[in-house]
């Protein structure tokens, strides 16, 4: 069995047990081992990169050091964590001077970044260790009547030079993984545009206007639900519909579901085991279409 160090980050354990539960259940069922390591900290995402880039690289590298010591590659659920860790991993591997600079900081904490391990988003793990064909064979529920609007969030794809996940302008991996479950992944306007989530807390009006654009576009395209990979995108679009209702007096009620939840349902995991009551927008419309 292939095993990974599971990097949970902050937002998932703080607010989204639905994401964590479904991801652990689905990945384990598909034969992926998940190991919880002690002493992982914040991944050092954009808010910390904004404060001090050097500190954020050192914090990201420290987390990777823990995986190196355990001789495990890292799997992330949050695309934000994926970006911070994969960006640091690749930047430091490609830039010896920067690596030496960060290692000088880490030496104060008795650590050394070597660059010997991979940081993978769990979609990459599904592609590499399970594969589309084997995934299809494990699907026991019929999702054929489900039209979904996939939304990967920015940091699965960009900056592509360092993340190397998929083509940033014409990505297909996420949609392939949705269609492997039997659902139809539809096109909608501005599909690859940001959700605005990172502006929450600084400019809530702007963040909400950008989120509304995504909700409007997916609704107009006739999606039954929006499928997300990032806890920030999820919050921005799920909780965001409550905020849109009060700020714009508009009601959309389009369910937002993490890919790992859709995957769990397709694999036949009982919805009652998935903490679905953490969704603000009820999933009834989605569940009724999954036979």
């Amino acid at each position: 069995m292939t095993s990974y160090a599971l990097f949970l980050g902050c937002t998932i354990p703080a607010r989204q047990p639905n994401y964590e539960t479904s991801a652990r259940k689905a990945l384990t069922r598909l034969g992926i081992g998940l190991v919880d390591l002690d002493n992982m900290t914040c991944c050092a995402p954009p808010p910390l990169q904004s404060i001090d880039m050097e500190t954020s690289l050192a914090i990201a590298a420290h987390n990777i050091c823990l995986a190196e010591e355990a001789d495990l590659d890292i799997v992330t659920l949050c695309t934000g964590c994926f970006e911070s860790l994969a960006m640091a991993n690749n930047l430091l591997r490609e830039n010896p001077k920067l690596k030496a600079r960060v290692n000088k900081i880490l030496s104060n904490a008795g650590k050394e970044f070597k660059g010997t391990k991979e940081v993978k988003h769990y979609l990459r793990v599904l592609m590499d260790d399970v594969g589309l064909e084997r995934l299809k064979k494990n699907v026991v529920k019929d999702l054929n009547s489900l039209k979904v609007a996939s939304f990967s969030g920015c940091h699965l794809l960009r900056p592509s030079a360092l993340l190397k996940f998929d083509d940033p302008e014409r990505p297909h991996i996420f949609d392939d993984l949705i269609e492997a479950l039997g659902a139809k992944s539809i096109w909608y306007r501005n599909k690859l545009k940001c959700c605005g989530g990172l502006l929450r807390g600084y400019a809530d009006d702007v963040a909400l206007a950008i989120a509304r654009d995504k909700i409007v576009n997916t609704t107009k395209a006739g999606a039954d639900c929006i499928v997300t990979l990032c806890p920030f995108c999820f919050l921005t679009l799920d909780l965001g519909q409550m905020l849109i209702k009060s700020a714009y007096k508009e009601e959309y009620n389009i369910p937002v579901i993490h890919y790992s939840e859709l995957l769990s349902l397709a694999l036949g995991i009982d919805p009652k085991e998935l903490a679905l009551d953490f969704h603000k927008i009820r999933l009834d419309k989605v569940l009724s279409k999954i036979m």
Binding site: A14, M40, P46, L48, S50, I51, A58, P159, L198
Partner: protein, 172 residues
């Protein structure tokens, strides 16, 4: 002449300061084509943010305006601009470099003080809710592992992060 010379000096010195920051190295390659602004979801939504203007003002040496107008905090870090820039200006990274300079000079939005406090106290920028933590066993989730606060504190001391003055300044 003296006035022009002074202007040139301030433009060059701010540009040099940005280029010496991690992420700021490519700013001077910009030829103001506007691809960044036309690719930007925030610029489409509000006139308060325009990445091309931020780069131009920075290269002109308008340091105080760039650091205090609030615009630099409106980048959503989506990297669309950076992907599409024909000059390979790492625009989102330049914005990070500008934010790093602003923070060092004490221009710190409240939300960033909160992120820093969360990191220093708990090792996470989003605090764990005790309510959710207590419910973990109900969903069959293992207990949360401790965050490595001791090592983290040593890293924050080594970079000087813990010396930054996290005063409440209000939104700049």
């Amino acid at each position: 002449m003296k006035h022009e010379k002074e202007q040139k000096t301030s433009a060059t010195s701010f540009s040099d300061e940005i280029r010496s920051q991690l992420g700021g190295e490519t700013i001077a390659l910009c030829y103001q084509c506007g691809t960044c602004a036309s690719s930007c979801p925030v610029a489409k939504t509000t006139e308060r943010y325009n990445p091309r203007d931020i780069i131009r003002l920075s290269l002109l040496g308008e340091k105080q305006e760039v650091l205090t107008s609030g615009a630099i905090w409106l980048c959503s870090s989506c990297y669309n601009c950076q992907e599409r820039c024909p000059q390979k200006v790492e625009i989102a990274d330049v914005i990070y470099a500008l934010r790093n300079i602003a923070i060092k000079e004490g221009h710190i939005p409240n939300i960033y003080s909160e992120f820093a406090t969360g990191l220093m106290n708990e090792g996470r920028i989003v605090p764990i809710s005790k309510f959710v933590e207590k419910k973990r066993p109900e969903y069959g989730l293992p207990p949360l592992r401790p965050a490595g606060l001791d090592t983290l504190k040593k890293i924050l001391a080594a970079t000087g992060f813990d010396k930054i003055q996290w005063k409440k300044e209000g939104t700049p």
